[in-house]
Symmetry: C2
Subunit: 435 residues, 2 copies
């Protein structure tokens, strides 16, 4: 890990060391994905089978995973694994249930009632990547809020063969349909529908460059589907002071570094001693990691920044906007009101990132790549939408009429004005008739 | 307006009559906008001045509108106009203040505390279109939530000359910077910044095809800016029963039709009598509208659908997903729980769309073009983002450790596991030392 002293850098150098590596434009990926989307739109299930054979080298018996297969998967899992997944499911459920929006009703002026009501998104699609190890935690992070929001149809796609852990969590989350489809073809199937796969309104979940590009393309097509958020490499930033445990900090940095060679890992500390100790502990712990090759690559572009103060650590973190932000200082909660632009914040030495990745209850689907400035941690709100309602009484309309008429006149919109005056005239006539 | 009887149509025909016209792909627009973005990125203020002279045929003295000009604008407005704008500002403020998220803190299991905290988006840009008439109402709809969310910098761009009403509302909303820039160049300036115009994190507001395309392009660039929502033509759908006032319904349909030739206007009613009366009233009222040419064009593609029942009206509306949904029935509130996929709902005969467009308190920036299935009415949430926080006590971590370790093992992530076990080992050692 490279160590820099913040104050010794020019402003330009400061910006440069924090700059995230560009994600390659990949014109090649764009056209490959566009072809896959067109193939699935045209040939539906046939295309899915061909693409699954080609890209995943798999020929599952059927596109849809049967109830029976899901039950069999559960039977093969250890009790320990089932308990762990259930505990995580419970905690994530508790935190996401607490996010339920209360209906809102306000009388903005006499007789004018405005309301905000929430409805679940009807049909959602969850994408779970394949790869060397299964990701049941991601099924929980997407499946639990979909379940609590009350989405009417929840579809899951993952490249075959789908791991038992994933199928078990799919059952825990009451997911309606599970499909043996991965990659861009899974995104296409959920965005446009096929003979077998249900079309959904919104697609969630992480994936490789092809999946990310497919999500981008379908979200730019109004006949496609909305998506959760833009994706980038995973990141952690740790703020540590001299009271931090260097071994704990090193373990946290490595648990980010092992995610992938493009993972971003940053330590900010006002303590040169901690900077040294952490750098050494990282090297020490790295030796015994099974994914040390991946972690080493990520550490190659990682950074330790020695700052003047904790306040400066906070400013740098807010500027960088990390996905995960770990605060290991004497009084971490004191810093919280100052912290901004982060996906999820971990306070204190007993709160490693991995608890949030799996089971504390927070969601591990978080904005990356600086999108923390504008995007939120995934939550119940992303599986719902808010509609406004207004209801005016006759008196309410009378009280608001002049304002609306004046503004409609200013905007040159006659019919907008008349929609009010025609009603006011009718009220006046009614009153005259009553006299 | 074309009238159809729903039951007499095949399913295919039903889908076809409700299909929205495709928005032209406009490869031409794509490249023009891309050129404008590049020009502004490269040449900053110089590019803005050139493009403003070219597209808006205007050469304002300075890009930024001065405080003095804003004060002079206020002095030129009538008291009536100022009162109307202030009343609208007040109502919109009341409704958006009520949307403030309460901080959330939950102990998901003993010693594991999860929180949801909200922060305003730091810097936001508001785009206000120019055109034949000023749109102060849009300044209110964007400026009020930015103000209430507490965004630190609020920037407004609008093509010169900027109307007095717009400048007055900008002042009411405490907008920090107002610029004489319109079109794609305004979006570029706010997304990338220039010598004069501040770069923002997120851009809001409606615009023509060039503005919409510019927003799309900058939102696909991670060095650009996020945007509010995808845009499409404005729409209204009215559900009316035999108790509705045909003149009121006609006035509401026309107030949508006058927005633009591509406006979508739909009436659903189980009453053939109301269908006839409304069609006639529309023709009658059309005659005296100043924008009758525009409204006529919109009515050309508009639709009256005669249904079997109010329940069928609700299903069709939910399928179509209108931006504005007006319910003029005997008991409109009874239908509310069944209504889904709408931007804003207007209940009862005294609630014309124009009250929501201007001053009831709800936001008039709404999802269109079927995006109501997944997008929300613009609100305070769009000017904020949610971060999660977790803090575990030593006991909390001990209670959760096994779950995290088991899941990390299943996912093959050693370092994730070790970030927990290294802490648990330290707790054990501490306890041994104390004995």
């Amino acid at each position: 890990m490279k160590t820099v002293v913040w104050q010794s850098l020019s402003e330009e150098q400061q910006n440069a060391v924090l700059e995230r590596p560009a994600i390659s434009d990949g014109a090649n990926i764009t056209s490959i994905v566009s072809d896959v989307l067109n193939q699935v739109k045209q040939d539906g299930d046939t295309a899915i089978k061909e693409l699954t054979a080609k890209f995943d080298r798999a020929t599952p018996d059927s596109i849809r995973v049967s109830e029976q297969e899901i039950d069999q998967a559960a039977a093969r899992l250890s009790d320990e694994m089932k308990q762990a997944l259930e505990q995580a499911h419970k905690n994530i459920s508790v935190f996401h249930k607490a996010q339920k929006a209360q209906p809102l009703s306000v009388e903005t002026q006499p007789g004018v009632v405005c309301e905000l009501v929430t409805r679940s998104i009807n049909k959602v699609g969850l994408y779970i990547p394949g790869g060397s190890a299964p990701l049941p935690s991601t099924v929980l992070m997407l499946g639990v809020p979909a379940q609590i929001a009350g989405c009417r149809k929840v579809v899951l796609c993952s490249p075959p063969p789908i791991a038992d852990e994933i199928l078990y969590v799919a059952k825990l989350c009451n997911i309606d349909e599970v499909y043996n489809v991965g990659g861009a073809q899974a995104v296409a199937a959920m965005a446009y529908g096929t003979e077998t796969v249900s079309k959904v309104d919104k697609i969630f979940g992480p994936g490789n460059a092809f999946v990310t590009e497919a999500k981008r393309q379908v979200s730019n097509d109004f006949r496609g589907a909305a998506i959760d958020m833009p994706a980038g490499p995973s990141e952690v930033l740790v703020i540590a002071d001299e009271t931090a445990d260097a071994d704990f900090v090193a373990a946290d940095l490595l648990s980010q570094a092992e995610h992938g060679p493009d993972s971003q890992v940053v330590l900010l500390t006002p303590s040169p001693m901690i900077a040294d100790q952490v750098a050494e502990a990282v090297q020490q712990q790295l030796k015994s990691l099974s994914r040390s090759d991946i972690a080493k690559k990520a550490l190659g572009s990682s950074l330790i920044v020695i700052t003047e103060s904790l306040t400066q650590c906070v400013s740098i973190s807010n500027f960088y906007g990390p996905e995960h932000l770990i605060v290991q200082t004497k009084n971490p909660r004191e810093l919280l009101p100052l912290l901004d632009n982060a996906g999820s914040i971990f306070l204190g030495k007993w709160s490693p990132e991995s608890v949030g990745d799996y089971a504390s209850g927070t969601n591990h689907v978080l904005p990356t790549y600086g999108y923390t400035r504008t995007y939120s941690s995934l939550g119940l709100a992303d599986f719902s939408k808010r509609m406004t309602v207004q209801e005016l009484s006759k008196e309410g309309l009378k009280g608001l009429a002049q304002t609306v008429v004046t503004m409609a006149e200013a905007e040159g919109l006659d019919a907008h004005k008349r929609a009010v005056t025609i009603r006011i005239d009718s009220i006046c006539n009614e009153q005259l008739n009553q006299q």
